[in-house]
């Protein structure tokens, strides 16, 4: 039944009065640091346990260790139950738990109906408190990770491959370069003893942050804290901050793959993070230029709507893994180093350089001229409500609260943004563009089945005119003349070609 707004307000007061720990529906921090997000009328309980470890902590030569460790805990046996028994016990509860391992974070997530809390709690917490490190589970999890690289990433989705190749290229030589799943040789070198030692080093109480949300009973936070004391002791040293090498000019990697169309990802590291006012200013500009999976994206309008070249074109100022498979930003992929990134979805190889030029031209225009007042106001209006969809469920809000902790944000990132939006000025946004965006120094990754053609077009800087199957308006054709001859200024020595089978090998 629908509750009236007055009813909701009364409930809020009641929750504050009775709960005493945290305002209803809003995350806050308990004295011991536990993140609490009580939602009294939510019939479910959400958990998020964050360990401050990720693929950046993989020892050299053991790339994939963090990923396999996280997944072995979430998808393996415990001291009390085999994995098969765990699945059987979770099944009637319709509850699952899982893990996300990213560069800097490992988060265990679970959700259950409050009716089933007791049964679920034991299974969920055992996963990271009492892992069995079963050799057979280890082989399965490692094999899945190897397959994720050797077959899925390399061969099943050129778009995800393009993004991974871009990150690898930008962060070469740093702990951020390899995919979170690791590398083929790194995974093959792992042993169960490596996993056990990694767990003991990083999955400690001092290295964890607990987060609870939904309609949980009032004693659950304390109970969880007590349970967690069974974790190994110790506080590992923080991983060194990844510093991508400065980029001088435009560098290109062509990932050569027989039969592939072209998928492009390009950009450069930026020195601004969520929580800073400049970040929010830059967010407005980026949303206008390339809001993910949205026809309001300017790049989308130029490349897809006006020219019908591909399925979509977007830009980012934060990591956005699995972009091809999600509509809204993922949580718990927080990073100390972010990139500005443009993503051009799959298109024919002979149109790749034109699309690259079109996107570069739009970026150049944005950097040189800034946003217009009209676009600024429209984007501000859009974002004010659009971000409401980023965290509609308790679980999503809880994960955002964990990310807020990562970035040291006081309050809520999304709520703060909505508060800051009306106070932002066009001048601030344009200043943030000038400070953080540029178009001269960047790394470009292209997956392609015709590396020879693209290499030749790039290094010769020859015109790449577009041919259309349908009639186009005169202004589009006029613009095409400028796009097709936009100077690329890419030196032949700055173009490397890598066969796909060598990607993420070691």
């Amino acid at each position: 039944m629908r509750r009236t707004r007055l009813g909701a307000a009364l409930l809020l007061l009641f929750a504050v009065a009775c709960g005493g720990e945290s305002p209803e529906g809003r995350a806050s921090s308990a004295q011991d640091g536990t993140i609490l997000l009580p939602v009294r009328d939510d019939p479910t309980v959400s958990f998020c346990i964050w360990f401050q470890v990720g693929s950046q902590n993989d020892p050299p030569g053991k790339e994939g260790l963090a990923y396999v460790t996280g997944h072995l805990l979430a998808e393996g046996s415990t001291q009390d139950n085999s994995y098969e028994e765990i699945l059987a016990q979770l099944y009637p509860l319709a509850s699952t738990y899982g893990v996300r391992v990213d560069r800097e974070m490992t988060t265990f997530r679970g959700r259950t109906h409050v009716d089933n809390l007791e049964k679920f709690y034991a299974l969920f917490t055992d996963a990271f408190l009492k892992p069995k490190f079963d050799e057979k589970d280890f082989e399965r999890v490692r094999n899945d990770a190897l397959n994720a690289i050797k077959n899925t990433l390399r061969y099943s989705s050129d778009e995800e491959l393009g993004k991974a190749a871009f990150y690898d290229f930008v962060f070469t030589g740093t702990s951020y370069s390899h995919p979170r799943e690791g590398t083929v040789q790194g995974l093959e070198s792992l042993t169960i003893d490596d996993v056990r030692a990694f767990y003991n080093q990083y999955f400690t109480l001092e290295n964890s942050v607990l987060a609870l949300g939904g309609g949980y009973p009032s004693n659950l936070p304390e109970r969880l804290r007590t349970s967690m004391s069974a974790l190994p002791a110790g506080k590992p040293a923080p991983a060194q901050e990844p510093r991508a090498a400065a980029i001088d000019g435009r560098k290109v990697v062509l990932v050569s793959k027989a039969g592939a169309d072209a998928s492009l990802s390009f950009g450069f590291p930026i020195d601004v993070l969520r929580g800073e006012r400049e970040f929010y200013a830059l967010w407005v500009a980026n949303s206008w230029l390339g809001e993910h999976r949205n026809s309001s994206s300017h790049l989308y309008q130029v490349i897809r709507s006006a020219r019908g070249m591909n399925y979509g074109d977007y830009s980012y100022i934060e990591a956005y893994p699995e972009g091809g498979f999600r509509q809204k930003p993922p949580q718990n992929v927080s990073r100390r180093q972010q990139c500005f990134e443009i993503w051009i979805r799959t298109l024919p190889n002979d149109q790749a350089v034109f699309a690259l030029r079109a996107a570069l031209r739009e970026l150049q225009t944005l950097v040189d001229r800034g946003m217009s007042e009209e676009d600024f106001e429209l984007t501000r209006s859009f974002l004010n409500k659009y971000v409401l969809h980023f965290a509609e469920t308790t679980s999503q809000r809880l994960r955002y609260a964990v990310d807020d902790r990562f970035y040291g944000i006081d309050g809520s990132h999304l709520e703060n943004f909505r508060k800051i939006l009306p106070t932002l000025t066009l001048e601030e946004v344009n200043a943030a563009i000038r400070k953080h965006l540029q178009y001269e120094n960047m790394k470009i990754a292209i997956i392609t089945g015709d590396a020879d053609l693209i290499k030749r077009q790039l290094e010769s800087d020859e015109a790449t005119p577009m041919q259309y199957a349908s009639e186009k308006p005169a202004e589009v054709l006029e613009e095409d003349k400028e796009i097709s001859t936009l100077p690329l200024q890419i030196a032949a020595a700055d173009i490397q070609v890598i066969p796909v089978e060598e990607m993420f090998e070691n």
Partner: protein, 463 residues
């Protein structure tokens, strides 16, 4: 559980995810077994009305923090593409619906939708095309105005039509390297001799390439299928029912009737097993995909509901075959079984990704052994009870936002044309016994009713 087959996979997923976001309505209803909720499983008030022109509206008020999900479900999908050379057209037409009208040309419409910060999109599958906007409740009236306008008055120039055809080809391009898409496409083509389920919602590549030349056909398509009798508007969230109903009547009431049903051919009964090898030029682990012919969805068909229960018991995550092949022998990366909810007789799919190419035959044998076992033995009573508990809690946990409610309802609404099927299904599922599961295994899972497709990498194919 019940749903729609897969055409793509996540980078690290152990299971393929779905071609579209799939309604879990049927499966979640299975578990609601207590008699207290036997008559009504869905917890929210539902206000259903049919306007004089045949348009059905469903209003579902719920406390949602000011959010509203506005869905327009057109009961037309790839199934309706019965005319040769026009496969993929329902999906293409979905793209055209974003190209504007005289009153709200594309740029104007996009600006209005952008201003309201709507999460707006659409998708097409075999039996339906769905358009949705997830909005703040204060924007509902404007959305009713915009949506009713484009469904009544869509207008686009030929040049824009041709341009959009390029974007559709781009969508095909991004999918075509996915091995699950390949085998999904191939198994449907093989399984159906004449029915339109033989092609995917993307359509055949040669038809996609020819789309720019079908401008006139597109107008005929709109005129025949985008009519009120063929559409359901669903509004969920913080809404005033009386006001919303009045608004819908005002804006949609003058939409002219004129639906012309498609002449979908009737698939003859399959009489012998079909086997195909699916070529794939990339690198992939082999995929085994076995599809059995099923009945059309009918919430009162106890045998079909029992087949779905069988699919979970036999091939789900707690099944014996999962334990043996995934966990113990580690021969397959995953295995799953699923009955699809379709308007016409469709398929039940068993899908496994095999880790070693030489073990493909063994995996098929194990699948056969599993089916034979269920034909000879009644399922374990505890597992049947666990399954019913699973779907009950899955249902209860999945209705937390207007969009999630819509995702659970849209397919049953599209396939049946109403929401009553929810309760009817529940009553049927409530009756499923161990004996019914065995009967379903015996009835549906026979060799002459199936198509076996094996994708093996490195055997060339389309470029």
């Amino acid at each position: 559980m019940l749903g729609h087959p897969t055409v793509r996979s996540r980078t690290t997923a152990r299971r393929p995810c779905r071609w579209l976001v799939v309604s879990m309505t049927l499966c979640v209803l299975i578990g609601a077994t207590t008699s207290a909720i036997a008559q009504k499983i869905f917890p929210y008030e539902t206000h259903v009305e049919t306007l004089d022109n045949g348009l059905k509206t469903m209003l579902i008020p719920m406390n949602s923090g000011g959010l509203v999900a506005y869905w327009t479900i057109v009961r037309t999908g790839a199934r309706d593409e019965y005319e040769p050379g026009h496969t993929g057209f329902a999906h293409f037409f979905e793209h055209m619906m974003f190209r504007g009208s005289e009153k709200y040309p594309r740029e104007v419409r996009e600006k209005l939708v952008t201003e309201m910060g709507a999460d707006a999109n659409a998708f097409t599958s075999d039996d339906l095309t769905a358009y949705y906007l997830n909005i703040a409740s204060e924007d509902l009236e404007q959305v009713i105005e915009l949506e009713s306008d484009r469904f009544k008055n869509l207008k686009y120039p030929e040049a824009e039509f041709k341009t959009e055809a390029g974007a559709v080809y781009g969508e095909y391009r991004k999918n075509r390297m996915n091995p699950f898409f390949r085998v999904y496409e191939a198994v449907h083509q093989e399984a159906f001799d004449v029915h339109t389920y033989g092609h995917t919602a993307m359509g055949y590549v040669e038809d996609i390439k020819a789309m720019p030349e079908m401008f006139e056909y597109s107008q005929s398509f709109f005129s025949r299928y985008y009519r009120p009798e063929n559409v359901v508007v669903v509004v969920i969230g913080d809404i005033d029912v009386g006001r919303t109903r009045k608004n819908l009547q005002e804006h949609y009431g003058d939409w002219a009737r004129g639906y012309t049903p498609p002449q979908v051919p009737v698939e003859p009964k399959q009489t012998k097993e079909k086997r195909i090898d699916v070529p794939y030029e990339g690198q992939s682990l082999p995929i085994v995909w076995i599809s059995y012919k099923m009945d059309a969805f009918d919430p009162n068909n106890l045998e079909l509901m029992s087949a779905d229960v069988f699919a979970q018991l036999a091939f789900g995550e707690t099944s014996d075959i999962h334990k043996k092949l995934v966990l113990e022998e580690q021969v397959v990366e995953f295995i799953q079984g699923e009955v699809n909810m379709n308007r016409d007789p469709g398929l039940m799919d068993i899908i496994a990704r095999v880790k070693e190419p030489q073990r493909v035959d063994y995996v098929v044998q194990e699948i056969d052994r599993t089916i034979a076992h269920f034909k000879e033995n009644l399922p374990d009573a505890q597992r049947l009870a666990d399954l019913k508990s699973n779907v009950r809690y899955d249902f209860l946990m999945g209705l937390d936002t207007p969009m999630n409610v819509a995702r659970r309802l849209y397919r049953v609404i599209a396939v049946t044309g109403g929401i009553e099927a929810v309760d009817h299904m529940y009553r049927s599922y409530d009756k499923v016994s161990a004996q019914d599961v065995q009967n379903a295994a015996r009835k549906y899972f026979v060799d002459e009713q199936r198509t076996i497709a094996i994708l093996r990498p490195g055997e060339g194919g389309e470029s």
